[in-house]
């Protein structure tokens, strides 16, 4: 059996990272990526769903059936019907329109929080993996400390104290969710910096920054991007949790707030006030998780289904 190979599902030899062994830049890792992703049907559908959500977030007015803040006191607690497909709440607002407008906050928090965490995670991981030594030890110890801290409690604390504007929520979630990205990028850097193409670049006289940005980083990013898709999902869940606890942005419509609101009417059994906003959170989070899974499979065909 070749070195470092494993036996595949059907008994064939699978050589780990063959592209690396040739000493070439492993761009060939991306070959056939899109085709493999498309085969993952639920992930592919989720991607379309997320695109639809993005459009909804940009022009919610086009999708909503009425103004989400319009109250109507003779139309309270109407169960789902043709006019209000998700019913109305205690002051006669249309639940469907509110769910539609709620997309904005969730996506915004998800994306911006993850951009922040991505920036931190990639920087920490790259510094740690490329330079190694004491810096690596320090940064990884810091990462461990952040991993041990019960994150949600800390976020809760910070938001409760500094106020719950949507910007605070995004920033704090971003600041506290970079650890997995840092670890992944570091591991990639550790492998890549020993590769022959890096040595080749060095021997041609390329400086640190050129090697990092031109040669290593592009190859190290893919796993971090895949991980980010999962982080978007968890950022959306955290935001929903915060606004459920009353720590959301009070000036915006969020799904978590709608759920918190519906809790007051639980006993009366107005199920539509609870069911639909929660379903929206669930579907959005599930979509991002599925995309992450699909990307993972497409990127590491060897690990399919793990």
């Amino acid at each position: 059996m070749p070195d470092g190979a494993t036996i595949g599902e059907k008994g064939e030899f699978i050589v780990e990272e063959p592209f690396f062994e040739l000493g070439l830049e492993p761009t060939a890792r991306y070959a056939g990526f899109w085709e493999r992703f498309k085969q993952h049907r639920s992930a592919y559908m989720s991607l379309w769903f997320v695109m639809l959500l993005t459009v909804i977030a940009i022009i919610p007015g086009y999708f909503a059936s009425q103004d989400p803040t319009e109250m109507s006191f003779n139309e309270t607690f109407i169960p789902p019907c043709s006019e209000h497909i998700m019913g109305t709440d205690n002051v006669g607002r249309d639940v469907f329109s509110r769910v539609i407008y709620g997309v904005q906050v969730s996506l915004m928090v998800g994306f911006i929080a993850v951009v922040i965490s991505f920036a931190i995670g990639v920087s920490v991981g790259a510094l740690s993996g490329y330079y190694g030594g004491k810096l690596d030890k320090f940064l990884m110890a810091l990462t461990d400390v952040f991993l041990v801290i019960p994150g949600f409690f800390l976020i809760l604390l910070i938001i409760a104290i500094y106020g719950s504007s949507i910007y605070n929520v995004m920033i704090v979630i971003g600041l506290l969710s970079w650890m997995s990205t840092a670890r992944i990028v570091r591991a990639e850097f550790l492998t890549l910096r020993e590769m022959e193409f890096v040595e080749a670049a060095k021997s041609l006289g390329a400086g640190d920054s050129r090697i990092v940005f031109k040669h290593i980083l592009p190859n190290a990013l893919a796993p971090a991007i895949i991980n980010s898709s999962l982080l978007v999902a968890s950022a959306i869940l955290i935001e929903a949790g915060l606004s459920f606890l009353g720590l959301g942005d009070i000036n915006r419509i969020t799904w978590g707030q709608m759920l918190a609101y519906s809790q007051g009417f639980q006993l009366a059994g107005y199920w539509w006030m609870t069911f639909f906003p929660g379903l929206a959170i669930f579907a959005t989070v599930l979509a991002f998780n599925l995309i992450g899974d699909g990307l993972n499979d497409a990127f590491n065909p060897r690990l399919r289904g793990r």
Partner: protein
Amino acid sequence: MIFVVALNFTIVHIAPGGPEAMLFGPRISEDVRERYRRSLGLDQPLYEQFISYLKELFAGNLGFSYQYDRAVTEVIGSRVWPTTLLIGTALILSTVIAIPLGVMSATKQYSKTDHALTFGGLAGISFPIFWLGLLFQLMFAVYLDWTPVSGYSTVGSEAGGLAHYKDVFMHLLLPMLTLTVANLAVIMRLTRSSMLEVLRQDFVLTARAKGLSERSVIYSHALRNALRPVITILALSIGFLLTGAVLTETVFAWPGLGRLAFESIFIRDYPVLLGLFFIVAIMVILANLAADVVYALIDPRVKY
């Protein structure tokens, strides 16, 4: 650990406003505000407050709750039991269900069962836990009326002994199930992937080649090795469960630590928040330590 304490202290104290703003509203006179701040030691410079906080901490004193006018340790102490009960039962139940499911999923990779379980696991980690709680509440407590809606025990009930335990149990059922479902998915996914990893290794092949039964290969060879990462996750899931407990306890008005956190945040009860955070961080650190010890027990290669 020191880092956690320092971090918490800093965050809480740089905050705008303060407990006096919450207790008295914005219209209090400067004089009253000053007197109140002095009585709580809030007029001292920050580092002095921090030093006195540390001193008290080592003496086992977490300070005094603004809200309850009682020692923080006492306030927290009175809430520890319900949360322990909730988290403990959920942890046990989810582990007992999740590990066999994960093993089943891994050994029958790519089968229909596996696909269903994998998708179920993914759905499980995508559920907003409070939504799940609210739906359970609607279904089992409101429509079916099988269990109480919320609380720890029936208000005004004077039942003692067995009847009391039964009462608490009925109240526990829904929050426990909610937490279990969420935690189950995490543990199952991890068991599956870690099991798949192990099943590919040479010693599994050897065991099969020796002619051992499939059952013995899976349970005594593979699973034993697959459990290591699972134990890490069990330790991490203490943190996860505590987080979930904040949301679940809020939904079900379960009088535990999570609900206390929720209440304290709105009153800006800093000492309670700090104390809670401290306790939770310590619980998580201890759980991680415990995981390391268990490693050494099940894996003779690991020594300390």
